[in-house]
């Protein structure tokens, strides 16, 4: 029968924890840790002996791959100076926005979005009217509904919006034209009807 005193138990527990810490350093080095295990490992790495082990393990790896990297023991002075300089610097996350290229508020509707929508609808209606007239002039096949009938006859879908905004009947065909126009110009259609007329003229010449 084994009798183990409390001191031995404490020693064994310390040894087990130490082995686990060293295994943690090894696993951290190989990028194997995630989540809670990673957080725990970073806590472990706050200790000097864990950092020392990190250094030794990396020396071993470097020497196995390139023996000339055996030169250069850990320079305590170097790290001491670097720590002092890092302490004087702001943390990287504080220094600058993470995504400087993102336009702030780009995913939010503009304040004049409702007005813009009205202008778009008006512009597209003008385009549809011109297209219908042009179709009539060229003698299109089949019945020739008037421009107003053309707009009204298409199936419409109510536009989503707040209850305070007026409901605008949307024409899916016009939505397609709008999407194509945006793709072609890459910008808003605030050029007014002149831009649409130019497009219509271009369309006419292309036929």
């Amino acid at each position: 029968m084994w009798i183990v005193d409390s001191e031995t138990v404490v020693e064994m527990k310390t040894q087990i924890e130490s082995d686990m810490d060293r295994d943690t350093v090894s696993a951290l080095m190989d990028g194997r840790l995630r989540g809670a295990e990673l957080s725990s490992a970073m806590q472990t790495m706050q200790r000097a002996e864990a950092c020392e082990r990190w250094h030794v393990y990396h020396v071993i790896g470097d020497v196995l791959r390139s023996p000339e990297l055996a030169a250069g023991a850990r320079d305590a002075e170097f790290m001491h100076r670097l720590r002092a300089r890092l302490a004087a610097e702001a943390t990287p996350a504080v220094r600058a926005p993470a995504e400087p290229l993102v336009v702030p508020g780009a995913d939010r509707p503009a304040a004049n979005d409702g007005v813009f929508r009205w202008k778009m609808v008006a512009g597209l209606a003008s385009f549809a009217a011109v297209a219908a007239l042009g179709w009539g002039v060229l003698g299109g096949i089949g019945p020739q509904p008037s421009s107003m009938q053309l707009v009204k006859a298409q199936p419409v879908a109510p536009m989503s919006g707040s209850a305070a905004e007026p409901v605008v009947l949307r024409d899916p065909h016009l939505d397609e034209l709008l999407a194509a126009h945006r793709a072609a110009t890459g910008a808003s259609a605030l050029g007014g009807s002149a831009g649409f007329l130019r497009n219509a003229t271009f369309e006419g010449q292309g036929r």
Partner: protein, 212 residues
Amino acid sequence: MSDQATASPAPSADSDALLVECAVAGDQRAYELLVIKYQRRIERLIGRMVRDVDLVPDIAQETFIRAWRALHQFRGDAQFYTWLYRIAVNTAKKSLMELKRDPVMTESALQSAADDDDETSRHENALTSESTPESELAAREIAAAVNAAMEALPEDLRQAVTLREIEGLSYEEIADAMNCPIGTVRSRIFRAREAISAKVKPLLSHQTGKRW
């Protein structure tokens, strides 16, 4: 070195990305771990660009400070060391240009300049730019200790650490190659490192505080 598509990404790069993430979140120790990991390689790189060995640690310091400041810009689309390498090269070039404008000759640089005309000193100059005879001897001792420790390892531990450190395989790939569980791979690599560390650590402790 990269893993198969279904396995984890390149482990070293993955661990670097994790440490960068922790560092950007404010964990300075995470960044220090990266410094410890890459200090020797960066200093070796700088030592091959500048002649004056005394300038190498200062340029290395500046490199790591610049990297710290720009850490939030590291996107992880390239390896961290590749990114750090570029910073080191740019920092060394900048230092060399500043030296040309306002040359400050240190003692070692003066000695090197004085030996310029002597053909036989070319090798010595090369030695001076990267290491001292003492550090060369210490490096050879460390390399010999690592090799001897590797030879003394049991076959399974030696194979595991070789596949990891030299071949750059992931734990999954090593488990597949050695036909054992991933947990066993992790244990073998750890035990191999521990065994080699026991032989190497006294030599590194002897070097502690010395420049090279």
